[in-house]
């Protein structure tokens, strides 16, 4: 029997980052692994300049560009590392579905603002990363790509900056900070979207913007757009309300020994009061707290009738699948959300394309199959207490 060697020569560039274990081709490198810096045969018919750059620019460029929130730019071939330095890592992240961080399963209910790769795009990038990362036609001059600055959805109707800057001192890599920001509204306002303009894009890893004692306006993740709720739904912010802004900070390694001072700004986009006069309200279903990473099955009840417009998943580990299903008294089952290869470090909100009307006392079932805890972009995943939240407009 003859042996074959697979598509790319097995001379992968294996990179480990400090204490972060990176999995490659089934090989789990220990935290003390050294860099195996080698090259692969150039067997890929796809090259960076011709095929890969446009894909990376359009799908990854919001974060993986100079000045962006991600610590590595993929917008150059090899400048300061560039895409080739991260090719093996890209391959790994794409294979396990960790990147792009968009976990809506296409076989589930349609969600808005989808930014997944098509199978063909996925295959091209992996082929390139596996097949020697060829540069391509050097006569092609690629445009410089910088990270997006400014508001994704245009200038907001109201900007509410943090009252004080928050500083992460030298050596502090990770921290969370919560501040209360008065709105000084004299009347109730209706908010269709909330956004964040990070002060230091490379350090603001995530932000929760909520009405103190009220709904979660936004779970902000880098690269997100401010998305309008479907069918004219909106959040009510009462007169005199305060907003809570909780920011999870995480410095990039380049800034580890520097002090980083952030003063992010909340942006609010107003709209008219909906005809129903009803605000989007959260309905949270807590999951079990024991044995994280095991198969999950839990449920909650929607006590009031309402229209589900979005769902959020805070996860206690990676899950191969997450399914949220509404079960009516008649036994009829309606899927609300389906995620695959869901990572806990991206607890975003998924807005439904088609909101679902549910009667009172509808049971909400959650079933989850665990993913492999040993693979992932950041070694041990950042996790949260397990909770599935529905955003509902009550009838």
């Amino acid at each position: 029997m003859k042996a074959l060697v697979s598509f790319g020569a097995r001379h992968a560039r294996i990179i480990t980052w400090g204490t972060l274990g990176l999995v490659w081709a089934g090989l789990v490198l220990s935290s003390t692994s050294t860099t195996v810096d080698a090259h692969k045969a150039k067997t890929s018919p796809f090259s960076y300049n011709v095929d890969i750059f446009p894909l990376l620019r359009d799908n990854c460029g919001r974060c993986h560009a100079d000045g962006g929130p991600a610590p590595m730019s993929l917008m150059t071939y090899d400048k300061d590392g560039g895409a080739i330095a991260w090719a093996e890592s890209m391959r790994e992240m794409l294979l396990i579905g960790a990147m792009p961080p968009w976990y809506a399963d296409p076989t589930g209910p349609a969600v808005r603002n989808n930014h997944s790769l098509s199978p063909r795009e996925l295959d091209k990038i992996i082929t390139w990363a596996t097949g020697g990362t060829p540069h391509g036609d050097l006569n092609i001059k690629l445009p410089a790509v910088s990270a997006r600055t400014g508001w994704a959805g245009g200038k907001p109707d109201l900007e509410l900056p943090m009252p004080q800057p928050y500083t992460l001192g030298p050596g502090v890599m990770q921290a969370s900070n919560e501040v209360s920001i008065p709105t000084n509204f004299t009347d109730a306002k209706w908010v269709k979207a909330a956004d964040l303009l990070p002060g230091v894009a490379s350090a603001v890893r995530r932000a929760y913007i909520s009405v103190d004692g009220g709904p979660m306006l936004q779970i902000w993740e880098p690269g997100d757009d401010a998305v309008e709720p479907p069918s004219g739904a909106a959040f009510k912010v009462p007169a005199g309300a305060k907003l809570k802004l909780k920011i999870d900070y995480k410095k990039s390694w380049q800034d580890e020994q520097k002090a980083v001072s952030d003063k992010s700004v909340i942006g609010l986009y107003f709209t008219e009061e909906p005809l129903s006069g009803k605000s989007i309200e959260p309905v949270a279903i807590d999951g079990p707290t024991d044995a994280p990473g095991s198969p999950r099955s839990f449920s909650g009840t929607l006590t009031k009738a309402g229209r589900v417009v979005a769902l959020r998943a805070m996860l206690d580990g990676p899950y191969a699948s997450v399914e949220v299903t509404a079960v009516a008294a008649s036994g009829r089952r309606v899927p609300l959300l389906k995620l695959h290869n869901a990572r806990p470090e991206w607890p975003r909100r998924y807005w439904l394309v088609d909101p679902v009307e549910l009667p009172a006392n509808t049971k909400i079932e959650v079933t989850m199959q665990p993913g492999d805890p040993d693979v992932g972009p950041l070694g041990k995943a950042e996790t949260f207490p397990l909770q599935i939240s529905l955003d509902v407009v009550p009838q």
Partner: protein
């Protein structure tokens, strides 16, 4: 057939022999444009053999100036390697064994400066044609030497061939990245062999002992665990610091070591150039012209060298694999990646999908982990072409198809990656994901035209 690639640099032994051109073949070559494999650039520093760039420059590891080479997928005799180099599969004229595919570096030289490697064919100062030479590249040959199964370790340096030459005896041969046997004795290399039953449960664990010559390791199996098909996991530690690495073998029959003088048993001496079992012919015509017909007696090597400019002619209906300056792609891989030859309608494409997936299934059942990647790549190709028809599906089916196609793509690449390493557990997991995805894909296109 073997997948070439290369990553590497020049092996010390330069083998200057030609691919004996047949008169007709030579005419074809002359007529063909002087299309050569692209220039690649390698580092000649020992230890940096894995550096391979597509442009001139300095070695990223040692900063030495890179030297140009032209890499090509060729076939040569498993035993008489140096004497025959062919463009495609066939049999060795010396001993009738099937040719094996290797990645070779091509160069040309003149008699008055034999050590000067030129990157183009042409004439020498005395008017004679430059003589072509070939050099084996590291990782250019992953063919087993003793009728066993050949895998690469995760460090891309150690290679192991597992054999089951006689009832109750497992023998592992060890090679470096140039497929040269190396002595395991004194290197701190340890291993055990686990025998598994049909359900993958370990039923016995046997220590490995170093063979008398120091380049093999043997395991004597307990009498109750010797039956064919034999499923074993070789668990190797190549150093105290590296994690244990499993290599999974399945022997459906005893390994036949056709090495001249080979004996079976713990005292056998490995020969570096034993014949592997017959390779499967390429699924499509190989790169370049077919191998010349075999004469009854091999001509002297020098007589073959006239003006044997290697060139590339894409087989009819095949894309030009050198377009865009890429390294040579193995013909079998090129064949399974070729979308042009696939049917145009959904029904036939689904049939092709199931056929290719069936090839994976067959290889898995045979325990042939080293070859599974090829039909996996082929299945992926069909899935991606099917996706172009997904707009014909109703929305729910289309979503199902996209999901399944994505899973076919990722599982194919997982199989590709794990296949080299011989890790059955990982391959089986990836295979199961692919089997599910293929079934889902078939269901999505059920009834569509």
């Amino acid at each position: 057939m073997k997948k070439p690639f290369a990553g590497l640099a020049v092996v010390a032994l330069a083998l200057a022999f030609s691919a004996a051109p047949h008169a007709a073949g030579q005419a074809a070559r002359t007529a063909a444009a002087q299309k050569l494999p692209p220039l690649s650039y390698v580092c000649t520093m020992p230890g940096d053999e894995d550096v391979l760039e597509d442009h001139p420059g300095n070695c990223p590891k040692c900063k030495m100036t890179l030297v140009p080479v032209r890499l090509d997928a060729k076939y040569w005799c498993p035993v008489h390697q140096a004497l025959e180099v062919h463009d495609g599969p066939g049999t060795c004229r010396r001993d009738g064994r099937d040719l094996v595919q290797v990645t070779l570096a091509l160069s040309w030289s003149c008699a008055d400066a034999a050590d000067t490697k030129l990157m183009e064919p042409g004439k020498c100062a005395d008017g004679s044609a430059r003589k072509i030479g070939y050099e084996l590249r590291a990782h250019g040959d992953h063919n087993p030497r003793h009728g066993g199964q050949f895998f690469m370790a995760a460090d891309a340096w150690h290679h192991v061939e597992g054999t089951y030459p006689q009832n109750g005896l497992f023998k592992a041969f060890f090679y470096d990245n140039f497929t040269k046997p190396f002595a395991v004795r004194g290197k701190g290399i340890t291993g055990v062999l686990a025998v598994r039953d049909a359900k993958d449960k370990e039923i016995a664990t046997v220590p490995l002992t170093i063979g008398r010559d120091g380049t093999t390791m043997d395991a004597k199996l307990p009498p109750a665990a010797t039956a064919l098909p034999l499923r074993v996991t070789l668990k190797m530690k190549f150093s105290a610091k590296t994690p244990e690495q499993p290599f999974d073998f399945q022997f459906n029959e005893l390994s036949k070591d056709t090495t001249v003088g080979a004996t079976v048993g713990p005292t056998s001496t490995p020969r570096p150039t034993a014949a592997p079992a017959a390779p499967k012919p390429a699924a499509t015509p190989a790169i370049a012209a077919a191998a010349p017909p075999a004469p009854t007696q091999a001509p002297p090597a020098a007589a073959d060298n006239n003006n044997a400019a290697p060139q590339f002619q894409p087989p009819a209906g095949q894309p030009d694999l050198y377009a865009g300056e890429i390294a040579p792609m193995p013909p079998a891989l090129a064949a399974v990646l070729n979308e042009e030859v696939l049917p145009k309608d959904i029904t036939a494409l689904v049939a092709e999908l199931m056929d290719r997936a069936g090839q994976i299934d067959k290889l898995m059942k045979e325990g042939n982990l080293a070859e599974v990647w090829l039909p996996a790549m082929g299945t992926k190709t069909v899935a991606l072409v099917l996706e172009q028809h997904s707009s014909a599906l109703p929305a729910a089916k289309r979503a199902q198809a996209i999901s399944a196609t994505r899973r076919v793509v990722t599982s194919a690449w997982e199989i590709d990656g794990y296949g080299d390493l011989g890790n059955r557990t990982k391959i089986v997991e990836a295979y199961n994901r692919m089997a599910t995805a293929v079934a889902d894909l078939k269901a999505a296109y059920e009834g569509a035209r």
